[in-house]
């Protein structure tokens, strides 16, 4: 019984079957990981590039970044402050959800894109204060519609930058590579 299976597998056909199975499993795994890196679907296909092209600064909508841990999403009141003066708001299908949300008083359910796990205590302020620009981590927003991560926010990526920015400054290196700087 076992031998026959072995024997069958040793045939060219068997080898091909084995190869296909392995390849399929691998592809599914790869695709699964790949999909997690894609920008999620948003309630509104927010065109970052349009807003950036108008010269709106990042901090106008995400002011928390310079003040504290979270950059934050703008309230719809903030969106509406400009948009209710723009004629296109009334006509554009893209903007219909915004209009709907403002009129019905329901919050817009954004899907967070740039995220770190719960056990990472990230503080925007310190990074802005250290001279980092938004696009250093979040990519060039003038090129994307809805936000996309240019890279995976994993620990190696964080640490790489931390060590590089510390340079020869030993004290800074101690602080920036301390586990307790991000994990508590």
């Amino acid at each position: 019984m076992i031998k026959s299976i072995f024997d069958w597998l040793k045939q060219p056909l068997g080898l091909i079957a084995v190869g296909i199975t392995v390849l399929t499993l691998f592809s599914i795994a790869a695709y699964g990981i790949y999909t997690t890196q894609q920008a999620p679907e948003q309630p509104i296909q927010f065109p970052h590039q349009t807003h950036v092209a108008f010269g709106i600064q990042c901090l106008y909508c995400h002011p928390g970044a310079s003040k504290g841990p979270a950059a934050g999403l703008p309230s719809q009141a903030k969106c509406w402050a400009c948009h209710n003066q723009i004629a296109k708001t009334e006509t554009s299908a893209l903007l219909a959800p915004l209009k709907e949300a403002v009129q019905s008083g329901t919050p817009i359910q954004w899907v967070p894109v740039a995220q770190v796990p719960d056990f990472v205590q990230f503080n925007h302020r310190a990074h802005i204060a250290a001279g980092k620009n938004c696009e250093d981590c979040h990519g060039d927003m003038s090129k994307v519609t809805i936000a996309q991560n240019p890279q995976v926010f994993n620990m190696g990526w964080c640490l790489n930058c931390h060590v590089e920015s510390a340079g020869e400054d030993h004290e800074k290196l101690v602080k920036l590579s301390d586990c307790g700087t991000c994990h508590y």
Binding site: P117, Q121, N123, A126, L173, S177, D178, G180, H183
Partner: protein, 246 residues
């Protein structure tokens, strides 16, 4: 990619004396054992409750516990001075070298014993080796039913099953105060912030601050002659000083 050799400090100097940075002084003479610190700690640090059965079997998650013993026989019986026991943030901690995964490491920057929850694999060696027995382990995925999680402190990781946890000296408050001071271009002032337990204590029995600053309140208090450090004979260099008083 950065390699190990790039990081000169990654060679953790275990066994070397640490000077200590943050410290605490606890006056047992005025501690009334009221448990306000325990509750404050639980609320600040998202500590879970475990229920009657598990708490009666030594699985409660208190990061700080108040010990009391008895002296003498009735009627000359006396309750010993309440002894709040929490992580002593040892300068030479016994928990640190035994963790195989570097999940409990010494913070070179803050001179604290860190517990990195996401690195913990749950061998529980650190807790076994802690002479103060102040570490608590997440024996189960203790559920906090909705809407209790609304109360979670966003600055503190919510721990899950299988990881060790312990007092952090409210490191989130340390970071917050340092961040605030830095944004204002100054140093953190003594007494500008304190830990949750010290903040709540109605008797003011707990004082927290910089032990490496001789002018700080905690250093001044620690100079008093009758302060003791628990199990100092083990060479753990604890950073909590107790006044037995009385």
């Amino acid at each position: 990619m950065v390699t190990l050799s790039d990081l000169k400090i990654s060679e953790v100097k275990l066994g070397e004396e640490q000077t200590g940075k943050w410290g605490m002084v606890i006056d047992q003479d005025i501690c009334t054992g009221c448990q306000a610190c325990v509750a404050a700690c639980a609320m600040e640090n998202n500590i879970t409750f475990v229920g009657e059965e598990d708490s009666g079997y030594g699985r409660s998650m208190h990061w700080i516990r108040i010990e009391r013993f008895w002296e003498g026989e009735y009627p000359e019986v006396k309750m010993t001075a309440n002894q709040p026991m929490l992580c002593q943030q040892c300068g030479h901690a016994t928990c640190e070298p035994v963790c195989p995964a570097f999940a409990t490491v010494h913070s070179q920057a803050e001179q604290l014993n860190l517990q990195v929850y996401n690195r913990c694999v749950g061998t529980r060696y650190c807790a076994n080796n802690c002479p103060y027995q102040v570490r608590s382990f997440n024996w189960r995925d203790y559920q906090r039913p909705e809407p209790l999680p609304n109360q979670f402190n966003p600055d503190v990781t919510v721990r899950r099953m299988g990881v060790m946890e312990k007092c952090t000296f409210c490191i989130q408050r340390i970071h917050k105060a340092q961040d605030k001071a830095k944004s204002e271009g100054r140093e953190v002032a003594d007494g500008e912030f304190t830990t949750a337990c010290a903040q709540a204590c109605p008797a003011n029995a707990i004082t927290f601050g910089r032990v490496d600053d001789p002018e700080s309140m905690v250093s001044q208090l620690a100079k008093r002659s009758h302060g003791v450090k628990h199990l100092e004979e083990l060479g753990t260099l604890p950073n909590v000083t107790y006044f037995k008083g009385g």
